[in-house]
C-alpha cells in the first residue's frame, strides 16, 4: 500500500505539468466565455424619426424618453399615462431603526387590479411616500444640486410582510439624509404590473416584437409578414371606431386567439394573471413609441431635423444661432410640449375604452340568403364600396390596386414598386376572401367591424359612414360565402347546401 501511495504521488508530481496545461486551457476558455464585462442589459432603441433629428434635439428626445419611461429593466412610472401600473396602497406598521432595515408593512391591492404580489414581482417596483418624512425628501448630488429621490422595493417578503426600501440614485455627500420609515407612514407601490409584464414579454414576445416593441426582434427578419411595430400606437384588428385606439379587450383577444395566417400564434392558455400584465406592457410600449414619434414631429415642425439644419446653415443661419434657439426650445418649451403630448395620449387611449368608441351594429345580421349575397356581390363591385378594386373580382386579393403604383402617404410622390403598403412601410396584400382565413376573427361581427372601421394602419378604409348597415351585412354575407362559392377550392359544395347553413338562431 505504501509503495502504491508513493508511486501515486510520484506520478502526480509528474502530472502537474499535464494537468497544468489542461487547466490553463480551461482557464482561457472560461475567460473567453465569461467575458470581462458586466452582464449586458437590454436597452430600448430609438425610432428612425428620432434619428432624423439634429443631434441636440435627438438627445433631448432620448433623455426625455429615459426620464419618463426608463429602460426595460428599470421601468419608470409616469402617472400621466393611462396605464394600470398596478398600484398597491401601503402603510407602515412598525418603525424601523435604519433606512435600510426591513420594515413591517401592510399592502392592499387597489380594486379590480389583478397584479401579482410575490417577492419576485415586487422587486424593483417604485415607491411613492404619501406621508411621513420621506414624502418630500430630496437629496443633494455630488455636484451640490438638489435632486428628487426614486424609492424602490429592494426586497419584499410576503410571509413576514416586510419591505426593504432602496433609493436611486444612491445618496452621497453630507447634505443627503434619509429618515427611516415610521409607524403610520403611507406609501404607494407602483409598477409591479409592468415589471411582471416585462418579464412575460421577454419570455414570450420579445424575440419577434423586439425589446422596444418595434417588431424587429431577432426572429422577425425571417417573416414574410412582419410582427406588429407597436410604436405607431396602431393595431389592426380592433372593435373600436376608425379614429379610436385598440381597447384592452382587443389586445387580449388578439393574444388569446392569435392571428390566423400569420406567425402570431394563439396564446389561449395564458391565465388572466399573465395576460393582464402583458397587455398593459404592450400598451405602455405603444404609448412610448407614440410619444417618441410625436416629440420628433414637434422638433421637425420647428425645423430642427438634421437635414433642415443643414438647409438652414446653407441658407445663411449660423450653427450657433440654431443651437441657441434649440437650447431655448428644449429648456423652456419642450417640457410643456411633453406634458401636452402625454395628455393627448391619455385622452385618446382612455376614450377608446369608453362604450361609445365600440362599434356595434344596430340591426341584426340580415339572414344569409342567396338574395342577400347577390346584393352583397353587387356592392362588392360597385363604385360606392369598390371592394373589387383591391380584393379582386372573385375576392382573391388580386384587384387592380395591387398592380398600381400607390402614392406615399403625406406626400404626393409615387412609390417605385407597385402594390399596396401599410403604415409601417411594409408591402401588404389585400385579403384573399376565398381562403376562409380571417385574421381579425371569423364572426359576422368581426367582418362587420372590419368593413365599418377599416383596418387601422392598412389601406382597408372605413365604410361606416359610406355604407348603410343593411349594405354592410349584405357584403358580409357575400364575403362569408366566398370560401364555399364557385371559384374557390371548395366549389364542389352546392349552393343549396350553403343556403341551409344556419346563422344565429336559424334552423
Amino acid at each position: 500500500m505504501r509503495l502504491a501511495v508513493r508511486s501515486l504521488f510520484a506520478s502526480r508530481f509528474v502530472a502537474v505539468p499535464g494537468t497544468g496545461v489542461g487547466l490553463l486551457a480551461a482557464l482561457v476558455a472560461t475567460l473567453t466565455i465569461a467575458g470581462c464585462s458586466q452582464s449586458p442589459e437590454p436597452k430600448f432603441v430609438f425610432g428612425e424619426s428620432t434619428g432624423k433629428l439634429y443631434r441636440p434635439a435627438q438627445k433631448a428626445v432620448e433623455m426625455e424618453l429615459v426620464k419618463d419611461f426608463g429602460e426595460p429593466n428599470h421601468i419608470v412610472v409616469w402617472e400621466k399615462l393611462p396605464v394600470d401600473f398596478g398600484a398597491f396602497d401601503g402603510v407602515v406598521e412598525q418603525s424601523a431603526a435604519n433606512f435600510s432595515d426591513p420594515v413591517k408593512v401592510k399592502l392592499t391591492r387597489k380594486a379590480n387590479s389583478k397584479v401579482p404580489m410575490s417577492a419576485d414581482d415586487l422587486r424593483g417596483a417604485g415607491i411613492i411616500w404619501t406621508s411621513g418624512a420621506n414624502a418630500d425628501a430630496t437629496a443633494w448630488d455630488p455636484k451640490g444640486r438638489e435632486v428628487p429621490l426614486d424609492y424602490e422595493v429592494a426586497h419584499y417578503d410576503p410571509k413576514e410582510s416586510t419591505l426593504s426600501v432602496s433609493v436611486w440614485p444612491a445618496i452621497a455627500g453630507e447634505k443627503g439624509k434619509l429618515d427611516p420609515p415610521k409607524v403610520g407612514d403611507k406609501f404607494t407601490v407602483l409598477g409591479p404590473m409592468l415589471q411582471q409584464g416585462h418579464k412575460l414579454y421577454m419570455t414570450h414576445c420579445e424575440h419577434c416584437h423586439g425589446v422596444s416593441g418595434d417588431g424587429k426582434g431577432p426572429t422577425a427578419s425571417y417573416f414574410d409578414i412582419k410582427p406588429r411595430d407597436y410604436r405607431l400606437g396602431r393595431f389592426k384588428f380592433t372593435s373600436t371606431k376608425s379614429t379610436d385606439r385598440a381597447t384592452r379587450d382587443d389586445l387580449v383577444r388578439t393574444v388569446r386567439q392569435g392571428i390566423p395566417g400569420t406567425y402570431m400564434p394563439s396564446f389561449l392558455l395564458f391565465t388572466d394573471e399573465e395576460i393582464g400584465p402583458i397587455v398593459e406592457y404592450v400598451r405602455w410600449l405603444a404609448m412610448r413609441g407614440e410619444f417618441e414619434e410625436r416629440s420628433g414631429a414637434e422638433f421637425l415642425s420647428g425645423q430642427f431635423g438634421s437635414e433642415d439644419v443643414s438647409q438652414r446653415v446653407k441658407g445663411g443661419e449660423t450653427r450657433e444661432s440654431i443651437e441657441t434657439a434649440l437650447d431655448n426650445y428644449i429648456k423652456s418649451e419642450y417640457p410643456g410640449v411633453a406634458d401636452d403630448l402625454a395628455g393627448r395620449i391619455n385622452t385618446s387611449w382612455t376614450a377608446s375604452e369608453q362604450p361609445d368608441a365600440l362599434v356595434t351594429p344596430k340591426i341584426a345580421r340580415t339572414p344569409d340568403t342567396p338574395e342577400s349575397r347577390e346584393r352583397g356581390r353587387k356592392l362588392f363591385h360597385s363604385d360606392t364600396a369598390k371592394c373589387a378594386q383591391c380584393h379582386g373580382p372573385a375576392g382573391k386579393g388580386d384587384g387592380p390596386q395591387t398592380e398600381d403604383y400607390q402614392v406615399i402617404l403625406g406626400t404626393n410622390k409615387k412609390r417605385s414598386v407597385p402594390g399596396l403598403f401599410d403604415d409601417w412601410g411594409n408591402p401588404i396584400k389585400p385579403r384573399d376572401l376565398t381562403s376562409g382565413i380571417y385574421r381579425g376573427g371569423r364572426r359576422p361581427l368581426d367582418l362587420y367591424r372590419r368593413i365599418y372601421s377599416g383596418i387601422k394602419g392598412t389601406p382597408m378604409p372605413p365604410f361606416g359612414t359610406a355604407l348603410k348597415e343593411e349594405e354592410i351585412w349584405d357584403i358580409v354575407n357575400y364575403a362569408m360565402s366566398l370560401p364555399y362559392g364557385s371559384g374557390s377550392e371548395n366549389s364542389e359544395l352546392r349552393q343549396s347546401k350553403i343556403a341551409s347553413a344556419s346563422p344565429v338562431g336559424g334552423g
Binding site: 502504491a4 501515486l8 414570450h204 424575440h207 426572429t219 372593435s239 381597447t247 379587450d249 382587443d250 387580449v252 383577444r253 388569446r256 386567439q257 392569435g258 390566423p260 406567425y263 400564434p265 394563439s266 396564446f267 389561449l268 392558455l269 395564458f270 391565465t271 388572466d272 362604450p355 365600440l358 356595434t360 351594429p361 344596430k362 340591426i363 341584426a364 345580421r365 376562409g436 371569423r442 364572426r443 359576422p444 361581427l445 362587420y448 351585412w473 362569408m480 360565402s481 370560401p483 364555399y484 377550392e489 371548395n490 364542389e492 359544395l493 347546401k497 350553403i498 347553413a501 344556419s502 346563422p503 344565429v504 338562431g505
Partner: protein, 292 residues
C-alpha cells in the same frame, strides 16, 4: 486503490437505482396515472419492461462488480489469469434466454399497437362520428368541428368533410373538447411542416405529416383538462404550442359546441341570447374565451 475503483463501479448503479426508486415520489415520473385505456395498457407494458430491465441491470452490474472485486483481489495474486477462450454452453444459454425474453416482449405488445394504429380496428361508430379535424401549424393548433347537427352516414362522407370545410363547421384554436365515455376519433393534419400531437396524460402521440390526414383514436376516461404539446420539431416555436384537451361528459360537450356556434355566428346584436349585446359585449366575449 483498485478495490476503491471496484466499489466505484458498484456504487454508481446503487445511486442510479436509488434515484429511480425515489423518482415517483419526487414527481420525476409520469405526470399522473394514464387517463385513457390505451394509456393504461402502455403503462402496464412499461412497468413490465421496467421490471425485466431492472432485473437484468442489477444482475449485470452485480456480475461486473463481482468480477471487478475479484480482479482487484487477484491482480497481484500468484498464478495467472484463467485461460479460457469461452464456453459453448454459456453462449447458448445467454443467446437463447435473452432471445426468448425479447421475442416475448415484442409479441406481447402487438395487440396494443394494432388497437391504436390500425384504423380497421376502430369501432365504426367512432369512425363515423369524428370529433374534430386538427390542423397543426406554426405554432398553434387550429381545430375544426363538424356541426353537431351533421350526421355522417358513411366513411366516404367523412372523407369528403375532411377534404372540404363546410359553412356550418365550428372553429377553435388550442383547446380541443372531446366527450368522455366513448372512443373518440380526431383527424390530424398540418398546414406547413411536421408537428406531433402529444397528450402526455393520455399517453398518445401522433406525428402530423404534410400531405397526410391521420386518424387518432383515444378515449378520455375522466372529465378533466389535459395538457397537449407538440412533439416534432417544427421550427423556433416548437415549444410554444401549448394547448389543452378538455374532456367532458357528452352533454357538456354538446353544449360547448352549441356555445361555439353561437359565438361563431355572433353578429353583435342577437349573439349569446343575452342582453349584453351592446356595451359589455366584448367583455363577455373575452370571458367566454378565457380558460376555465
Amino acid at each position: 486503490m483498485k478495490r476503491l475503483w471496484a466499489f466505484f463501479f458498484i456504487l454508481w448503479p446503487v445511486v442510479a437505482i436509488t434515484a429511480g426508486v425515489i423518482s415517483p415520489s419526487m414527481h420525476w415520473w409520469f405526470p399522473g396515472a394514464a387517463q385513457s385505456p390505451i394509456g393504461q395498457r402502455i403503462d402496464d407494458l412499461f412497468y413490465m419492461i421496467l421490471i425485466i430491465v431492472t432485473v437484468v441491470f442489477i444482475g449485470t452490474q452485480v456480475a461486473m462488480g463481482y468480477v471487478l472485486l475479484q480482479g482487484a483481489r487477484d491482480t497481484d495474486a500468484p498464478g495467472r489469469a484463467m485461460f479460457t477462450h469461452g464456453s459453448h454452453a454459456l453462449e447458448v444459454i445467454w443467446t437463447v434466454v435473452p432471445a426468448g425474453v425479447l421475442l416475448f416482449i415484442a409479441f406481447y405488445q402487438l395487440d396494443t399497437w394494432a388497437a391504436y394504429r390500425v384504423k380497421e380496428n376502430y369501432p365504426m361508430s367512432s369512425r363515423l362520428s369524428p370529433v374534430a379535424e386538427i390542423t397543426a401549424r406554426q405554432f398553434e393548433w387550429r381545430i375544426r368541428y363538424p356541426n353537431p347537427k351533421r350526421k355522417f352516414e358513411s366513411l366516404p362522407e367523412v372523407d369528403a368533410w375532411l377534404r372540404q370545410p363546410a359553412p356550418d363547421d365550428l372553429y377553435a384554436v388550442n383547446e380541443l373538447h372531446v366527450p368522455t365515455g366513448r372512443a373518440v376519433v380526431v383527424h390530424l393534419r398540418t398546414a406547413d411542416v411536421q408537428h406531433a400531437f402529444f397528450v402526455p396524460i393520455l399517453r398518445i402521440k401522433q406525428d402530423a405529416v404534410p400531405g397526410l390526414v391521420i386518424p387518432i383514436i383515444f378515449e378520455a376516461l375522466k372529465p378533466d383538462a389535459y395538457e397537449w404539446v407538440c412533439a416534432e420539431l417544427c421550427g423556433w416555436g416548437h415549444y410554444k404550442m401549448k394547448a389543452r384537451v378538455k374532456a367532458e361528459p357528452k352533454d357538456d360537450f354538446e353544449s360547448y359546441l352549441k356555445g361555439l356556434e353561437r359565438e361563431q355566428f355572433d353578429d353583435g346584436v342577437s349573439g349569446h341570447g343575452t342582453k349584453k349585446a351592446a356595451a359589455g359585449e366584448s367583455k363577455s366575449e373575452a370571458a367566454a374565451e378565457a380558460p376555465k
